[in-house]
Symmetry: C2
Subunit: 335 residues, 2 copies
């Protein structure tokens, strides 16, 4: 086995990970649930000590198919994720789920009840569900989410589903970091809710209309179909992939098989067209740039606190502006 | 008049803004609407040329009271903003509104129809409304939003209201950059929607329950009141400010006067308690750090494209991980 080296973020010196980290990593690679959960907590923390082991882990990723599933509140996407996970399991694949919850510090975590709703899956060792808080991550949400996805990938899960409400820039970045993006629309939601959805419609590789047992569903399907025909939707017009529109009813399990077939077809398309490499490269570029931003912010706060305070004094007195203050801070930090 | 100097982001050399920029700035300070709109477009662009004039403009800010108003889809916050603007106008104050719309590139802009709904205000020179797209800003949403707020502040508007759905990290950062944060709750929304709201409940300086003509409103009010009593809500427990809970009906204009009185009382409280300075400093620190991140990202993409591509090759081959790649990129960039 090749020794795993990682560059320390501060000194830039190459350091191997310690024995305890290596043991944990080995357990993750062997698929041990306790180790996976611990590694996820490490991934979620922004501690500098976490970096080397995450760096080592990253090299074991790349096998899982990452599915981003997004939909507005009320679109029934949590039910959809559960049905999807069950269907993937029925085809013999293991499934990891990362649910990004709008949660609150005062409840101490997720309040959407995903864990409860997912209970019928939780006894299955082929399923691993992680709920993540969207608050408190302080700019590092996309980094930590994709690190948690890496843990599931390295642990050998065949499919990893990222579930997010898809509102907010960081959240859209995350869903765009998936190989296959599924956007869930539901009939009969209000104007404001539909408007929020608009921001993610065009990043869909697969459109799903949920709750198609409802009479209003045909209108929603017709509208989406018209948009698709006009070519105003669809992620990449240069691609030969024809964005499908799938009518589902998660309650009745209708359309879920078709959805899994479509996701698989999209994966094949990505591989055969060579698009997978390009998409993966875009995702990596985003991750590298976000990591760079995290490192810079962390350094400035740690090493240049005194200068930052003086610049804040001047900015507060309005003899300086935030942009110039940032420039001076970066200059002093040797940037 | 003191010559306005701005430090160029790249070379770090001090440069005065050019005559055309100075003329535009003077027109903004004089409150000319065309100039305000043009300056806002400059603020929204991420062009390096925009920095010196924005830096110069910043020094003329600090007079406006910035109100952040957030609420989930369906809470009726757009109607609330309109009623609020009309009430502020009735008290003789001018009002700027920055509405952060979940919008889409394929519609070419805002689709929430705020501009239409705001029509009854649009003939009034004491009101200026700007809708901003949440997509396409590529990480700079909070920077550009607060720069647009700066333009309204410098142009002399007494109150600036930032309206946002309050979902997503960047969006929560924005609303936390306001002096007074108003969180709108509405009766009878679904579980998922209420859960989304939870993330912003605790940053409220003022709670508003809208649509109180509805029978379900009393339950919503009782729940919020219980949370307030338990001390689990409220922005700052060390503060003597008691977070009020205001029942409104924007349709009937009920409670809007009370809301304006509360916002004014909060402003007085911030000044007299000395909290305003502390809050303003936190906002500035956030702005400086975000500006630093923007500068670093911009530099890396502009100056180190070749290295980034080589690091991407290695990361794609999984002989390197994104974090180590970011570290090397920053080292090469002289960081």
């Amino acid at each position: 086995m090749v020794a795993v080296m990682a560059v320390d973020g501060v000194a830039g010196a190459a350091t191997a990970i310690d024995a305890a980290s290596q043991a944990l990593l080995d357990e993750v690679l062997a698929g041990r649930r306790k180790a996976i959960a611990r590694m996820m907590s490490i991934a979620e923390s922004s501690a500098a000590e976490a970096k080397p082991v995450m760096a080592a882990l990253h090299r074991h990723t790349g096998r899982a198919h990452i599915v981003g599933l997004t939909g507005v509140p009320g679109s029934g996407k949590s039910t959809m994720v559960r049905a999807l996970a069950q269907r993937f399991r029925a085809t013999g694949r293991t499934v990891g789920v990362v649910a990004i919850d709008p949660s609150s510090p005062f409840t101490g975590g997720a309040i959407l009840g995903d864990r409860i709703r997912m209970l019928d899956l939780s006894g299955d060792p082929g399923v691993f569900i992680r709920s993540m808080a969207t608050r408190g991550a302080l700019g590092g949400l996309s980094r930590s989410t994709l690190d948690v996805v890496d843990v599931l990938d390295a642990a050998g899960f065949d499919v990893v589903v990222i579930e997010t409400v898809g509102v907010g820039q960081d959240e859209v970045d995350i869903v765009q970091a998936a190989h296959s993006v599924v956007v869930v629309s539901a009939p009969g939601l209000g104007d404001e809710i539909q408007a929020i959805k608009a921001g993610v419609l065009e990043i869909a590789d697969i459109h799903v209309v949920s709750k198609c047992d409802r009479p209003e569903a045909s209108e929603t399907i017709a509208t989406l179909r018209a948009m698709l025909r006009l070519g105003s939707l669809g992620r990449d017009t240069a691609s030969v992939w024809e964005t499908p529109l799938i009518a589902t009813s998660a309650q009745k399990r209708d359309g879920i098989e078709t959805l899994v077939t479509s996701i698989d077809a999209h994966r094949v398309h990505l591989r055969e067209s060579g698009e997978l490499a390009g998409r993966y490269r875009r995702i990596l570029e985003m991750r590298i740039l976000k990591a760079a931003e995290d490192i810079v912010r962390d350094r400035l706060l740690r090493r240049n606190r005194g200068l930052l305070d003086r610049l804040l004094d001047d900015t507060q007195a309005r003899t300086l502006d935030p942009y110039t203050a940032a420039t001076r801070l970066l200059q002093a930090a040797g940037g």
